[in-house]
C-alpha cells in the first residue's frame, strides 16, 4: 500500500527569542526549561517535526509555556521561524519550503490554505468591525471584490456556527466569549481552507459553552473533511477531538502517537505524570 502524502509536513522547526550565546549554543546546552540563564534567550520551539494527514485532527498538549502557541503562530506566519522547513501538499505540491517563501506568497498561503483560531479572540478579530466584515476580511485578502458574494458566504458561515442572523452586523466586542470564538471559527473557514489551526479555543469558556464549541469543531471536521491542529492543555478536549496527539515540553515534542495510546499508556515520565494526575 502506498503511504498517503501528508497535507502538512513540519521538519526541525525551531523558534527562539534572543540570539543565544556560547553557553546555550553548545551541543549539550544547559537550559532552565526552555530558557538560557546566561543570555536570557527563550527556546520556544526546538526541532519540532510532525506530519498532518487529510481529514485528521492532531492534538497538541503541554503545560503553559511549552511552546504550543508559538508553534501555531509560526505555522500561520505570525512569527518568523528561526529555522526549519514546512511543506504543504496544496502549495506547489509540497515541493517548496513555505518558511522561505516571500512574504506575499506566505500571505497567499495563509489566506487560501490556512485558517486560524487564536487563543485570544482579540488577536483574531477586529473587535469594532461587524462580524460580517470580520469574516469577509479573509475573503477580501484572498482577492474577492464582490460584496454580495462575500456577504452570502459570511452569512451562511455565521449560521453554520449558530450566530443569529440578526446579530451578524454587530461587532464582536458585544459578544460573549463563546460567540467570539464562533465568529473566529467562521472567519477561519471563510475561504474553505484544507487546514484549520485552533489554539485553546475553549479555554476560559463555561463548560456548557465549551461543549457546544467542541461539537461544532467535530461536526466541521466530519462534514468538510478538513485537517485540524488542535492545541489544548485540557486532556478531555484532546481525548474528545484528536485522532493523534503530540505532547510538548519546554519547546520539544517528547511523545506522540494515537491519542488513545498516549492517554492510556504514556511512555514519557512527564506524560505519565500529566495523565495520572488527572485520573
Amino acid at each position: 500500500m502506498m503511504q498517503e502524502q501528508p497535507v502538512l509536513s513540519i521538519r526541525q522547526l525551531s523558534k527562539q527569542y534572543g540570539d543565544g550565546c556560547t553557553h546555550c549554543q553548545h551541543e549539550d546546552m544547559k537550559l532552565e526549561k526552555n530558557f538560557c540563564p546566561v543570555c536570557k534567550t527563550v527556546y520556544a520551539c526546538r526541532s519540532v517535526s510532525f506530519d498532518l494527514y487529510r481529514g485528521e485532527i492532531l492534538g497538541i498538549v503541554g503545560e503553559s509555556g511549552s511552546g504550543k502557541s508559538t508553534l501555531m503562530k509560526s505555522l500561520y506566519f505570525d512569527e518568523t521561524v528561526t529555522s526549519g522547513e514546512g511543506y504543504l501538499v496544496d502549495y506547489e505540491n509540497g515541493h517548496n519550503n513555505i518558511f522561505t517563501e516571500s512574504s506575499q506568497m506566505k500571505r497567499h498561503i495563509r489566506n487560501t490554505i490556512l485558517g486560524m483560531v487564536y487563543q485570544n479572540p482579540m488577536l483574531g478579530l477586529k473587535m469594532d468591525f461587524s462580524s460580517m466584515s470580520n469574516i469577509a476580511e479573509k475573503q477580501i485578502a484572498a482577492g474577492n471584490r464582490h460584496v454580495r458574494q462575500m456577504e452570502e458566504r459570511s452569512l451562511s458561515l455565521l449560521q453554520h456556527v449558530k450566530i443569529p442572523v440578526h446579530r451578524s452586523k454587530e461587532a464582536p466586542k458585544n459578544f460573549s466569549g463563546g460567540m467570539q470564538q464562533r465568529v473566529q471559527i467562521a472567519k477561519a473557514m471563510s475561504n474553505n481552507p484544507p487546514i484549520l489551526l485552533l489554539d485553546e479555543v475553549t479555554t476560559g469558556l463555561d463548560l456548557s459553552v465549551q461543549a457546544d464549541v467542541l461539537d461544532l469543531i467535530k461536526s466541521i471536521q466530519r462534514e468538510l473533511n478538513i485537517s485540524m491542529i488542535v492545541v489544548s492543555h485540557d486532556l478531555a478536549v484532546i481525548r474528545m477531538l484528536a485522532d493523534r496527539t503530540i505532547v510538548m515540553l519546554n519547546g520539544e515534542i517528547i511523545e506522540h502517537g494515537l491519542t488513545d495510546q498516549v492517554l492510556e499508556d504514556p511512555q514519557h515520565e512527564y506524560t505519565q505524570q500529566l495523565v495520572y494526575s488527572l485520573l
Binding site: S103, Q104, R107, K126, F129, S130, M132, S133, A136, E137, I140, A141, R145, H146, V147, R148, M150, E151, K169
Partner: protein, 281 residues
C-alpha cells in the same frame, strides 16, 4: 539678526523638500518622508502644503490659496499673507490666473492646466491608518501592495450603511500601484485627479510626508465589482446664485425663512459666473 530668506525657509530646507517632491513624482502615490520644519503656523493648519508651496514658489509665480472652496477664509488669508510677505509674489482668486494653487479640501471647479501646480494640504496621509496603527506595518503593506485593509474599511461601511459612507478622503489607487489618501476633498473631486493636466502635490506637515500625482497618471477610486464608485449626487439641486448644477454644492439654511438652499462651494468660480452674467446683460 539675519534677514528672513526668500519664501521663509533657508535654501537647504527648500532643497530637501524639492528632493522629496521629485522622489514623489518619480513614484506616484508613494509617501516620501521629509523633515517637516517649524513654521509660524500651527501644525495641522496646512504646514505640509505650505512647505511644498514655499519650496516651489518663485518670484514670477501667481498664488491662489483656498480653504474648503473659499479664498477668503481666515486660514487661506493667513497663508497668503505669510507667502506674500516673504516673497512679494502676486496672489489671485481666479484659478485661471494662478500658477500655483494651494488648497484645503477642494480641487477648483475650473480645470487646471499643464502649466499649473496644485498643492493639497493633508491631515492624514496614511490610507491604512484606521486599520493599522503601526507605521512599521503600514509601510510593509504598501511595499507588498497589500491593500485588503482599505477594501475592508469600505466593506464595513457597506455593511453598516448599505453604501460606502466615506464622503471625503476616499482612497484611490495611483498608477496601479499605491493606494493613497487624496486629502479630504469630496468624492466629487476624485475624478479630477485622474489624468490631470496639472501636477498635484500633497503635503502632510504633522505626519512629515510628501506625495505626488504627476500629470496624466491613472487614478482610480477603490470600489467593489457590485458597488462601483459614485460621486456625491445633487440631483434636482442647483446653485441659488448661478443656477449651476454640475458643480459641488454646499447646503445652507436661510436664517430668515428656514429654507434649505444650495450654492457653489467654489466661491471664486461662483463670482466669476455671476460677473459673466452681469456682463452679458
Amino acid at each position: 539678526m539675519s534677514a528672513v530668506p526668500f519664501a521663509l525657509l533657508d535654501e537647504q530646507s527648500k532643497r530637501e523638500i524639492r528632493r522629496a517632491i521629485l522622489k514623489g513624482i518619480a513614484i506616484p502615490g508613494y509617501q516620501v518622508p521629509f523633515a517637516s520644519r517649524e513654521l509660524p503656523i500651527a501644525r495641522g493648519w496646512g504646514t505640509g502644503g505650505l512647505q511644498v508651496t514655499l519650496a516651489l514658489i518663485g518670484k514670477n509665480d501667481v498664488l491662489k490659496v483656498i480653504d474648503q472652496g473659499s479664498d477668503d477664509s481666515v486660514n487661506a488669508v493667513n497663508i497668503k499673507k505669510l507667502v506674500t510677505k516673504t516673497t512679494g509674489v502676486q496672489t489671485t482668486t481666479r484659478t485661471q490666473d494662478a500658477t500655483l494653487v494651494q488648497s484645503r479640501h477642494r480641487i477648483p471647479e475650473v480645470p487646471l492646466r499643464a502649466d499649473q501646480v496644485l498643492v493639497l494640504q493633508v491631515p492624514e496621509p496614511e490610507p491604512l491608518r484606521d486599520i493599522e496603527r503601526s507605521e512599521f506595518k503600514t509601510k510593509r503593506y504598501h511595499a507588498e501592495k497589500e491593500y485588503s485593509g482599505a477594501y475592508l474599511m469600505l466593506f464595513e461601511q457597506i455593511m453598516r450603511y448599505n453604501q460606502t459612507s466615506q464622503g471625503a478622503d476616499y482612497p484611490v489607487l495611483v498608477n496601479g500601484r499605491y493606494v493613497m489618501n487624496p486629502s479630504p476633498i469630496p468624492r466629487f473631486d476624485n475624478p479630477k485627479i485622474h489624468q490631470s493636466d496639472a501636477l498635484i502635490l500633497f503635503g502632510a506637515g504633522r505626519e512629515k510626508k510628501i506625495y505626488a500625482v504627476p500629470p496624466y497618471t491613472n487614478v482610480e477610486s477603490l470600489a467593489f465589482e457590485d458597488y462601483p464608485f459614485v460621486v456625491e449626487q445633487f440631483e434636482g439641486k442647483v446653485c441659488r446664485e448661478t443656477g449651476l448644477s454640475d458643480v459641488f454644492l454646499d447646503e445652507l439654511t436661510d436664517e430668515v425663512t428656514g429654507e434649505t438652499y444650495y450654492v457653489c462651494n467654489d466661491t471664486s468660480y461662483m463670482q466669476e459666473i455671476l460677473q459673466q452674467k452681469v456682463a452679458a446683460k
